[in-house]
Structure formats: structure tokens, C-alpha cells
Subunit: 221 residues, 2 copies
Amino acid sequence: MPVPKNFVSPVRMSAKERALSQLQRWIIDGTLQPGEKLIDAELAESLGVSRTPIREAFQLLEVQGLVTTHPGKETKVTEIEKDDIFKMYSTMAALQALAAEAAAKVIIPEQIEQLRSINQEFSSAIKSGQAYQAMEADEQFHNFILELSDNPYAASFSASLQIHIRRFKYVFLKQSITATQASVDEHDSIIAAFEKNDSDRAQAMMKQNFIRPMQELHDLL
Amino acid sequence: MPVPKNFVSPVRMSAKERALSQLQRWIIDGTLQPGEKLIDAELAESLGVSRTPIREAFQLLEVQGLVTTHPGKETKVTEIEKDDIFKMYSTMAALQALAAEAAAKVIIPEQIEQLRSINQEFSSAIKSGQAYQAMEADEQFHNFILELSDNPYAASFSASLQIHIRRFKYVFLKQSITATQASVDEHDSIIAAFEKNDSDRAQAMMKQNFIRPMQELHDLL
DNA sequence: AAACATTTGTCCGTATGTATA
DNA sequence: ATATACATACGGACAAATGTT
């Protein structure tokens, strides 16, 4: 019997992983607010697990910078302020520019076509005012390039930053749309640079793709 | 009774922290070799703690990329190969270049003097063939600039990469000296750029300070 | 194919430490 | 200043999962 090869991952998530991703979601979307105190026993009950997986999730969240633990004292959701946007975006810009530079040297036509397709969805989402879908498509575009760059360090750091940026948007912008047509055009420029294997230009355009919204966001707040 | 103000940090390290730093050391210096299987119960006994802090340390090491966990199966020390040097150094270069760019805009004369002093020690260590001291001074130089840049994301990512780079040097170079006079000169150029608050040049020189040894190392292996 | 051995995953009790009254 | 409450840190037992004989 032909079993579907790519079924939706039989993810037997451990309790720790479930706790982690749930807590991440709650912190990102503001259910758990900045500065809020977290008590493991309480969360353990509401997630239906024991305190151990919660504690383990706390440790990972601390490394990610989403919670801050004062050992033996308390653990709270990390505070966030609007000036942090500079630090997050400029760091992200540096990593993504690096990825674009590397990707430009190895990308093949089929992959360029995939990027085009993703950017098309991104554009559609913006035009129809679907903020969440637009954000997802944008992330997909950048993550695809990161994969091409074949740099696990940059990919890991970028993933971490992506979470912080998402949280920033939720906390300060409450879901309002942030992506604009300018972003779509910049993506097109990056794709064009990829076609010519022009790593310098790909790198420069990628940087702008983060620097511009960074300034727009800061002006807005 | 006058108690010394700056005593050596009353670090009440938790068992988890002790386990973590010990395991880090063992992985970096090759005591625990790439691909080696780690069993928490065993390490728990040899470190004189229970499995819990060992397990917690494992999780953090996994995020750092020093160990790889196959859930429910095993956890091993992450493999490493010589081509990884490109990925580590190019990523580090991007982060440090960003830090230098930011630092150039806010650095004050006193801090420039401190950098000069650190670079002096770096130079001395190289001339007297003290490989470890040279590496430490070099790291101190870069970490100081990271602090100035006031970017916790870049600082955190850089710290993580520093560990991987250290491990790479231990595994492939066995303590032989890697720093050269060229590095000292590049540091001087960075300092000179700082004096003029020339963030572009600081950024460019910082990048070269990582790209050059990256290629030298790769040619060597 | 099934039972076994090994290792990871989870639970919960207890100790330790910190802050508040 | 002492006691008390509360949250974290750790330990050890048990359960689940995987690979093997």
C-alpha cells in the first residue's frame, strides 16, 4: 500500500517541546506580557505536564532571550522597548546580507523560480491586506535564502532574531500590516542579482531590505 | 572590618552551571571528541551530581550546537569538519563588522586607549610565542568592541561562535599559534578608524581581520 | 518476532535559598 | 532580627522509547 511519503511529520513532540513552543507563542503574541512573572508550577498545571519540562523550556527560553531568570529568585518574561528594533534589525540585516552573498554564488534557476513564486504570494498578501500571511511569506523568502547559503550558524541566529522581531511587531504594532510594496520590489532586486550571480548587489539589496523598514518602524513609534 | 570590594565574584554556581562549563571545556579541548556518545548517568556520576543538571546542560549545549540530540535515542558531541571554518569565520566577520560600525560612532578616547593597551598585550604574546595568551587577548579586543556596540544579540551570537572557533582550533591545530603580526596591524587600523569615528573603515578592517585568517587557516589544512 | 537491555523522558518529593512580614 | 512563605534547584524513581539479540 502506497503510503504518502511526505505526510505532515509524525511529530511525537515531547512534553518539553510542546511546553517550549506554547510558551514561545504566548510570549510572542503578548499573552504573557513583558515583565510578567512566570511560575513553573502554575504553567505546569495549565499545560498538563509536570514542572520538569517547564523548567527545561525556561532554560531554552532564557538562552533565546525571551525570559530572564534571577537564579533562586524568579523568572520573568524579558522586557522589550522600542529602541530594541535597531539592534534586532541591524543584526538581522548583517546575517541576511551574508546569506544572500553566499546564496548568489550557488543558486540555480529552479530555485530562483521558487523565490519568484514566494514573492508573488508575498505581494498578493499585501495587496489583499492579509498581514499575517504577508509576514509568513516574507519569512519564507528569507529562510529559503538562508537554506541556500548553507550556513547553520547564520540560520540559527536568524531564527532566533525572527522570533524577537515577531514579538516586537505583536507588542508594539498589534498585528497592523508592516510590509509594503517597497519590500516586494527589493525582493525582486535580490532575485535579479541572483540571476546574474552578483553577490555584491544581492548583499547590498538584502541589507536595504532590512534597514529601510527598520527606520520606517522607528519613525512610526 | 574592611572587606575587599572586588573579591573574585562570590559565584555560587549552580550544579547546572558547573556541569555546563565543564562539558564545554571538555568538548572544546577535545577531551570529549566529535561524535562521541554522551550518557547523562555516566557524566552525572563523574561530576558528582544527579542527572537533572546534566540533562539541563545538554539542552543548552544543543542550542549552542556543541551536542546533537536524537530524541529518545542518544546524544552525541557534534561532528566538526575543516570546511566549517568558512561558515564560522564569515558569520563572525559579519557580526564583528556590525559591532565595529556601531562602536565607531560612540567610542570615547579613554576606551580607545584601553583597546590600544589590549592590542599591546596581544602583540607581546605573539612575539613571545604564547599561543593561549594571544588568543585570549585577541578575544578580549573583540569582546570589548562588542560591549561598546551595545548590541546584546550580536554579543550573544558572537560568544557562541567564539566557542566553536576555539574548538575548531583545538581539534585541528592542537594549540599551535594562529595569530600573526598581520592581526596586530589590522587591530591598529581599526583603532585608527575609531579615532576618526570612521565607521565605514572600521567595519571594513574588522571584516578583513577575520577573512584573512580564515583563508590562511584553510590553506594550511 | 518478541523479550531484553540501554538510554532518554517525566514526575514528584525534598532541600535550599530569597524576599516579605 | 527572626520567622514564614514561596519559588527555584536538585535528586532519585519510574515510564517510555529505541535498538538488539
